[in-house]
């Protein structure tokens, strides 16, 4: 490769590099830097403060009056609850999304186009509006609440402002993110493989387990990541449908940047969340590589 070739390459890559540095690298770097500073008295950040890891320490330890550090599990509990909530939502999306995607792939081309449209239509409406819609459905005296009360003999059921409501809301919001990648796998799926499985003695259930699910695994993993990761940081749905009683990580972060005006601490939580997601994705990638090796 000649020198002019190298130069040409650098020049051609420049726009992409600048975009990535400016739009991804810079904000992340800024967030990392802010997480090391102290909160300001009037603004969110005291830009002049000396960098320290104090904000990260605050996540796990609390400084007692005499200066000793004692364990503070508040944030750990919120973190674990967020992971659990996100995991439950992912599982629900999988259980609902997989059959839908499978069914969609079996339709005629027109049917598929219509279903794709129906699946994506909710995106056209604001997330807030959709959550308020669930608020109306789930509240006391809402039609779902009345229906459940009519069927449930042990007194009125509180549907709203609990983890179940949050799970319902999150599942509803993120279901398309599961359906679309799984559908894209099934769309390309070679259905003769199922015939081959039947031919070799596999019943329908066995063919599903031994052929359809393993072949669809890349789509299932992609969909699960697309649901799990934004769920972990979700704050609108837990705030509205959870009634602020059950905080998730996203709510804590939002509170730091909003009412608490503690940007450095919010940035620190964000960095930790990011690190955990990166670790999880790396682990998943390694596991997949080992399996396909």
């Amino acid at each position: 490769m000649t020198q002019s070739d190298t130069l040409r390459r650098i020049v051609l890559m420049l726009p992409a590099l600048v975009a990535i540095l400016l739009l991804v690298g810079a904000p992340l770097g800024l967030m990392g830097w802010v997480s090391l500073l102290e909160k300001g008295t009037t603004a969110g950040v005291d830009w002049g403060s000396a960098p320290s890891i104090g904000n990260y320490q605050r996540l796990v330890w609390e400084e007692d009056f005499d200066g000793t550090l004692i364990l503070n599990t508040n944030y750990l509990v919120i973190f674990l609850r967020s992971v659990l909530q996100a995991a439950v939502t992912t599982l629900l999306c999988l259980m609902l999304g997989l059959p839908v995607a499978l069914w969609m792939a079996s339709l005629s081309p027109t049917g598929r186009a219509v279903m794709l449209l129906l699946v994506t239509i909710p995106f056209w409406t604001n997330l807030l509006v959709r959550n308020y819609a669930w608020l109306i459905i789930l509240r006391e005296g809402g039609w779902l609440g009345m229906a459940v009360d009519a069927l449930w003999p042990f007194g009125p059921v509180q549907l709203l402002y609990n983890d179940v409501a949050v799970a319902i809301g999150l599942t509803y919001s993120f279901l398309p993110f599961m359906v679309l990648p799984v559908y894209s796998v099934f769309e390309k799926f070679d259905w003769r493989l199922v015939e081959a499985a039947h031919d070799l003695g596999a019943t329908r259930a066995r063919a599903l387990r031994r052929v359809i699910l393993p072949v669809a695994m890349p789509g299932i993993l992609a969909g699960s990541l697309l649901v799990f990761i934004p769920c972990l940081g979700a704050f609108v749905t837990p705030a509205l449908l959870g009634g602020g009683k059950t905080l998730m990580l996203g709510n804590v972060i939002q509170m730091q940047f909003g009412p608490s005006r503690n940007w450095p601490f919010g940035a620190a939580i964000s960095v930790v969340l990011l690190a955990v997601m990166l670790l999880a994705m790396t682990a998943l990638a390694l596991w997949r590589n080992r399996r396909s090796a």
């Binding site: 003769r192 493989l193 015939e195 031919d199 070799l200 031994r210 695994m217």
Partner: protein
Amino acid sequence: MAETNTVTIRGVSKAFGRGDAAVRVLHDVSVDIARQEFFTLLGPSGCGKTTLLRLVAGFEIADSGSIRIEGQDVTHAPPFRRPVNTVFQNYALFPHLTVEQNVAFSLEEQRLPRDQIRQRVGEALEMVRMQTYARRRPSDLSGGQQQRVALARALAPRPKLLLLDEPLSALDLKLRKEMQIELKQLQAEAGITFLFVTHDQEEALALSDRVAVMQGGRILQMGPPREIYEAPTHRFVADFIGDINLLDGEATGGGVRVAGGQTLPVQVSRPGPVTLAIRPERARLVAAGTGVMDATLVHSAYLGTATLHKLQLASGGDFLIRQSDPVQAAPEKGSRVGIALPTDALQVLQE
């Protein structure tokens, strides 16, 4: 009484679609396939041959008629309850499994003990000479190798009947010839009945014990390859398999009078217009005036093992003669020649 047939198909019909849009792809088809027979369904695409195979496999269910395998009625049985395995046109190997896992699939479904599975997988892979590829994935293999794995996978459960749906059509010519020989050997070794589907007439003739030529959802003619080739009963069969010369004629009491030629001593049941067929290699080129009719030599092509002469008849039609005597020099282009037609090589066709 012991069943001597592996497959007995009786009056099977099948249509796809509903109401007015329904298309009948099989009309009242009946076939018997004997034990250890290599039986081939031959026909152009859309003739119903693959549908018939899929009915036997259980991927489709017949609208009417019955299918029995080894005496057992399987007309409505799902594919996983039939003693039948299939080699698919594009192999349909499981991409997420290794070669040996693919071959072990059916044995695991049968819940055989592990050591037995390992042994049978080894045997099946050895039969197709793919032992060294056991740990590979299908995507790492060439077309011919995938073909072998598909065969091993279908043979591993030791089916009574092996169905092969155009298994060689995706291979290049040289590999196809090799696999044809291997298939034939494999069938003899394994002692399994083969139901083979192809549109390649040469392949059908080379491999089969018996061939059924299909068109428009019906079996036109069924018999050993030699009979199909030498004594076609239908114009379609004669035309579909190899080169053929067709002559229109008029049946009379004394034989068949060929348009623009002599009366040939061919026995025909009733008078009227008939078509006579003769293979290019059975007709002979003779001096003008000494044959059944005269024609003009249009073109001679030297093919190595034979010379192919293209003639033009007085009626305007073409006539092919394949001459395998290399010593005899070809007459000059444009010259008048005669055509000799041995009576025993002439076939009277139904439309």
